[in-house]
């Protein structure tokens, strides 16, 4: 892509990358560990099948635009069939002793661990994210999530929802493309642990890992119909959400779609949880551990190319250290390695789709047009695929679009503040409320600022940390309900 070449001032970086004496040779992870079939069906009632109307769509690798596979595209009739299968499976699944459901989930967790390298490569291919992340973050978290909820299946009486909490029934789940398998785990693990059955629709740009997961369910001997996977577009998601046989809707994705879903289920009895967008503030005070704060800022906005709902996309830095932090940040950005997602040394991979790239590009251009100062390190982007260089906007104010709208890309907006009160006020001055970060060595400041932030997750002196035991979810327009931890059970229980 071309738009990133603008406004690049070669910084006096510590790291002259091209031509550096110690240039890392390519270190590609072997693609041969994963065998992608030329076509995949829908996974309904334990079998793969074509869509009722025979429609298919192609899924491409965003780093090369190579077609990876052709996938059946679910429509309304398929949704109906899948929901019926899930309904049929519900009776016996929910009647199983919790300890037996637990063992199925433990099996799934173990198979995910066993096949984790294969799944990591697959995810990097289909999503565009670096293998370093799929290998070291996504897949370990996926397995851990199944392990964690496996353990709850026979302990629900201890979870604080009454002596014998009941499942809801059929869960309709729609997940995004940014963490395809991890979001699947966040949805399916608690649903099955509590005795629900599921129909899950992965995103249209990243259907493959969910289809591999269907195979894992078969390897684990999971009864037919307990998990159904319907690759498809928004229309399939809408049909699923609206289906009268669905008792529970769980959605992760954009705030706009989340609002639409809330309207769809209004007036009915479906239980709803939504995990939506964010515009997380990462607040750096003048007494922060600066080197670690810089790492946290980088991790906060460039993890998964910034395509993270809880990204720290607004850096709020105390004016007294702003120059120091920004210099360090730019120096650090110059060492980021952008390129082939399968190279083990890649820090920043491809943007997931042409559409997403266009959105990031448009918002970044708006930032420039509104007068914010744009900076990117010198970096060569591959010619094929969807790419966007790591980008900083300085001189941003609360009024700029890049400070208000979720960009969902590797673009950081930098604002300054003078006092803790001002930091809190600016951090909360958004319709979103998913995440925030606080960087200071002073413990009481961490706790008082955290108390005042209207955000569902507050990281202090760290960022983008996830754990199956830790509840995750938003305030305000970032959605409602929590995933993870004991709290995550509630969304799938009749309480």
């Amino acid at each position: 892509m071309t738009q990133t070449k603008k406004n690049q001032q070669p910084q006096p970086a510590a790291q002259p990358k091209p031509g550096s004496a110690f240039a890392y040779a390519p270190a590609p992870e072997s693609r041969s560990v994963v065998d992608i079939a030329p076509s995949y069906g829908l996974f309904i009632d334990g079998e793969f099948s074509d869509a009722a109307d025979g429609r298919v769509f192609k899924t491409v690798s965003p780093s090369s635009e190579e077609v990876l596979s052709e996938v059946a595209q679910a429509g309304e009739a398929d949704v109906d069939r899948a929901v019926r299968a899930a309904r049929k499976a519900f009776a016996s699944w929910s009647a199983l002793p919790g300890s037996e459901r637990a063992k199925y989930l433990f099996r799934i967790a173990r198979i995910v661990q066993e096949r984790s390298r294969e799944l990591a490569v697959l995810e990097s291919l289909d999503n565009g994210k670096p293998i370093r992340e799929t290998r070291d973050a996504d897949l370990p978290l996926v397995a851990a999530h199944f392990f964690y909820y496996a353990g709850w299946a026979d302990k629900l009486a201890h979870a604080g929802f009454g002596p014998a909490p009941r499942p809801l029934g059929v869960a309709g789940q729609v997940i995004p493309w940014n963490f395809p398998l991890l979001m699947l785990a966040w949805k399916i693990a608690p649903a099955l642990a509590t005795g629900n059955t599921v129909v899950l629709k992965p995103a249209e740009t990243t259907p493959l890992s969910a289809l591999f997961f269907a195979d894992i369910c078969r390897q684990a001997g999971l009864p037919k119909g307990v998990v159904n996977i319907l690759p498809g577009y928004g229309d399939a998601g809408a049909a699923l959400v609206a289906h009268e046989g669905v008792d529970k809707v769980a959605f992760t994705g954009s705030t706009a779609v989340g609002k639409q879903i809330a309207r769809t289920v209004a007036g009915g009895s479906k239980k709803l949880t939504l995990e939506l967008g964010g515009k997380g503030a990462n607040i750096v005070f003048d007494d922060a551990p600066i080197d670690q704060a810089v790492e946290g800022i980088v991790n906060g906005i460039f993890f998964n190319q910034g395509q993270v709902c809880c990204a720290g996309s607004r850096l709020l830095v105390q004016e007294s250290v702003a120059d120091e932090v920004l210099d360090a940040l730019k120096r650090r950005l110059s060492t980021l390695r952008v390129g082939d997602p399968l190279d083990k040394n890649t820090d920043i991979g491809a943007i997931n789709s042409a559409e997403q790239l266009a959105r990031i590009t448009a918002l970044a251009e708006a930032g420039e047009a509104e007068g914010a100062e744009r900076w990117s390190p010198a970096c060569e982007l591959p010619s094929a695929g969807y790419w966007f260089a790591p980008t900083l906007f300085t001189g941003v104010t609360q009024a700029h679009r890049v400070a208000r709208e979720e960009i969902f890309g590797p673009v950081l907006s930098v604002l300054t503040f003078r006092t803790p009160a001002e930091a809190v006020e600016k951090a909360n001055n958004t319709p979103y409320g998913l995440s925030a970060g606080i960087w200071t060595e002073k413990g009481s400041r961490i706790l008082s600022v955290a108390n005042q932030l209207r955000a569902g997750v507050v990281w202090a002196n760290t960022f983008n940390k996830f754990d199956p035991t830790s509840p995750f979810g938003g305030y305000k327009e970032s959605g409602f309900g929590r995933e993870g931890g004991r709290h995550g059970l509630e969304a799938y229980l009749d309480v």
Binding site: P12, A13, A14, Q15, P16, S20, A21, F22, A23, Y24, A25, P26, A27, R132, D136, D287, A288, P289, I290, D291, Q292, E295, G296, T335, K344, N345, E441, N461, T462
Partner: protein, 331 residues
């Protein structure tokens, strides 16, 4: 940013003089050191671990192995050291792999002061330096005149480099100026009659300083006092060089150069035994301070068994077969 001068060059003293206000008194020095940004241990270790996952293959690996060999201070610091042992080690340092003359020489042979003359004679004009530990290494528990005599003795015997230990007791007791003055005095003792000086490496013994905040403070203190190199460890305690404490010291030399223009080297020592470990440290250098530190003028490994592992890896790269300990020399 001021222009850069090497810590071991003639212009460094003037730059350090510009920082004289912070070392003017114990109180000033304490205020300055305690005013340095804190270190979050979890974050520091996570960053070091993350850089440890870099995958260095093929041409990059070959480059890194030769670079690492050239950075080794090949060390013997045993009570059982003899002239024979030191001569054998010196021969190995000059010619690490007798079957492959393209193998680079090590940077220095590191010995106790009484072995300096032997090493100097054995190394001749090979270009391999003689480094001597001094100042009552490794504990450093001796009176200052003893430490200075120890240093002067090593320099007089021909040491090109002196590896001193700081007084950890004084440091942990908060007597920073005492530590500072002692380093300065040792630096003076490194001076030769012709006015030149042996390069001074200052060992903090990170394992005894115990906290990362202390290591950062010691780094600045050492550099302010005129260290040419800052060095992690003696190799004689439980915790020696780690990726995290070396990363922290690399950040310190980077920040010190940005503040003063004086460039100081870094030497991790102790516990680095495999090529894989050594390459991880080079990655830390590459991604923290970059090219300008990627030579043996600015980065060293204090090691003994590391060399043979590097040689075996080097043989693997050139032959395609894994090598074994019978195919490298034992000294």
């Amino acid at each position: 940013m001021p222009t850069t001068v090497p810590a071991h060059g003639p212009d460094a003293a003037a730059r350090l003089a510009s920082m004289a206000d912070v070392t003017a008194s114990d109180a000033a020095l304490r205020r300055f050191l305690h005013g340095l940004p804190g270190v979050d241990a979890v974050g520091l270790e996570a960053r070091a671990a993350s850089l440890g996952t870099r995958s260095i293959k093929t041409t990059a690996k070959a480059y890194a192995i030769d670079l690492a060999i050239s950075m080794i201070d090949l060390t013997t610091l045993e009570g059982a050291d003899t002239p024979g042992k030191v001569r054998a080690l010196s021969a190995k340092g000059v010619n690490p792999d007798p079957t492959d003359r393209t193998t680079p020489r090590v940077a220095a042979i590191c010995v106790y002061p009484d072995m300096v003359a032997t090493a100097k004679e054995a190394l001749g004009d090979s270009g391999v330096h003689v480094a001597s530990v001094a100042t009552a290494f490794p504990a450093g528990r001796a009176a200052l005149p003893v430490k200075l005599a120890d240093t002067a003795d090593a320099v007089a015997a021909g040491a090109d480099e002196v590896d001193m230990v700081i007084d950890r007791g004084a440091f942990l007791a908060g007597r920073y100026l005492k530590v500072f003055e002692e380093i300065k005095a040792v630096r003076e003792a490194c001076r030769r009659p012709d006015g030149s000086s042996a390069h001074l490496k200052v060992i903090f013994e990170n394992g005894e300083l115990a906290t990362y905040d202390n290591i950062r403070r010691a780094s600045w203190l050492g550099m302010l006092a005129g260290a040419d190199f800052i060095k992690t460890s003696t190799g004689k305690v439980a915790v020696n060089a780690t990726p995290a404490n070396t990363l922290l010291m690399l950040e310190a030399v980077r920040d010190f150069r940005a503040a003063t223009g004086v460039q100081v080297g870094v030497k991790p020592a102790g516990g680095i035994r495999t090529s894989k470990d050594a390459i991880k440290f080079l990655v830390l250098v590459n991604e923290t301070v970059g090219d300008e530190w990627l030579s043996n003028e600015w980065f060293r490994f204090g090691a003994s068994s590391l060399l043979n592992d590097l040689l075996m890896q080097r043989q693997k790269l050139s032959t395609g077969r894994y090598s074994g300990p019978d195919y490298v020399t034992v000294d």
